[in-house]
Symmetry: C2
Subunit: 195 residues, 2 copies
DNA sequence: GGGGTTCTTGACCGAGCGGTCATGAACCCC
DNA sequence: GGGGTTCATGACCGCTCGGTCAAGAACCCC
């Protein structure tokens, strides 16, 4: 748990997290036992408790890291873009492509949101990403390019569209991420209204 | 399980479902044991297995009924309204107020979506509601009142906005359902764009 | 009030869980 | 090659879980 890890150790830990995340997403967190994880990795049980102090801690770690990666990807995509509306668009596109590549982690987000044990941790991470978007929205409002309403509301609306479309069209229908991203961007900009 | 139930029996069954739904939402489905449910109701374990053949069946039944209620509420709100855009709006408002009164059931929807055992059943119910909205959207497109894009995409975008705003503003911030509904409707109509 | 049906009890079961630990292998630096 | 650290084993523990069942209470209709 609180050990100094060698390069070998860190790699082992990473593999455990990756494998466990896949099992959790496929089978559910509770139905997936520690025994199942270590058997799947072909190691003894002690290995698990060498790297993690509990099953719960492992899950929280997976969550934390996934949120971190997603945010990095967003920031990387946005770069130095000056236009706030375009920043929002780039964020949506980055999220879509990350979600397409990591659908199993999205499932874990969903599970975490449904269990009080994990939802606070999820919230904390998501608030960071929300703040990013809120900043762009505020800028857009000041520039008169975005409707003058509560920026937090607009931000969550954008997130809602992005996540829901990702789930229904990328995950369940296997549509390409960039097409779904196009649709999400269009909806966020204009809603249902024609031109 | 497959018994003829008297009025008394049906009431008992209803109470069990209600109590279990509350516990599932608060504690999670897996962490809530059958023993905990029957103790909370002050009855013996046999009662549970008289009314339900398994914990899983109970959960599916709760899910089914919740989806049924939500849909009924939507259809009731829409009534005979002729304007398709207005029908969509009324649907959003009805969903918001139902969600505000049944946030625990929304939590169960979320959990169900995260576990493969339950998500098919959830999907089936949601597809019905989706079809309703798709019909309104198509009408709106024909009338030239809605952007001419894949109606299914537009529908899911509307659902995404509604659910996400409900969760973040009604559940987590306790804002009044009708105000959140206003925001959702506005976003769905115009998106981010000003006027 | 007899007899069939509906409902209730709670001790009990086998299985599986998360987590521990004594023991030792592998590795690394001197 | 000795000695400290890191990593690995898997039998084992206490416990709780979902589910069963023999027994009987409550209810209902004739």
């Amino acid at each position: 748990m609180n050990h100094r890890l060698t390069a070998r150790g860190k790699e082992r830990r990473r593999q455990l997290m990756e494998f466990a995340a896949a099992r959790f997403a496929e089978n559910g967190y509770h139905p997936t036992s520690v025994a199942e994880i270590v058997q799947g990795m072909g190691v003894g049980k002690g290995v698990f408790y060498w790297y993690f102090s509990s099953k719960e801690e492992l899950f929280l770690e997976i969550l934390r890291q996934a949120q971190h990666e997603l945010r990095r990807r967003q920031q990387q995509a946005i770069g130095e873009e000056p236009d706030p509306l375009r920043r929002i668009e780039l964020g949506i596109r980055a999220s879509m492509s990350w979600l397409a590549e990591n659908r199993h982690l999205f499932t874990l987000f969903q599970f975490a949101a449904s269990e009080e044990r994990f939802s606070p941790s999820l919230r904390r991470g998501q608030d960071v990403a929300v703040d990013d978007v809120v900043r762009h929205v505020k800028e857009g409002i000041v520039a008169g390019r975005i409707r003058d309403t509560d920026p937090l509301v607009l931000t969550h609306a954008v997130l809602g569209v992005t996540n829901h479309l990702a789930r229904n069209f990328i995950f369940e229908r296997g549509e390409p991420a960039d097409e779904v991203a196009n649709a999400a961007v269009a909806f966020c900009l204009e809603g249902l209204s024609p031109g």
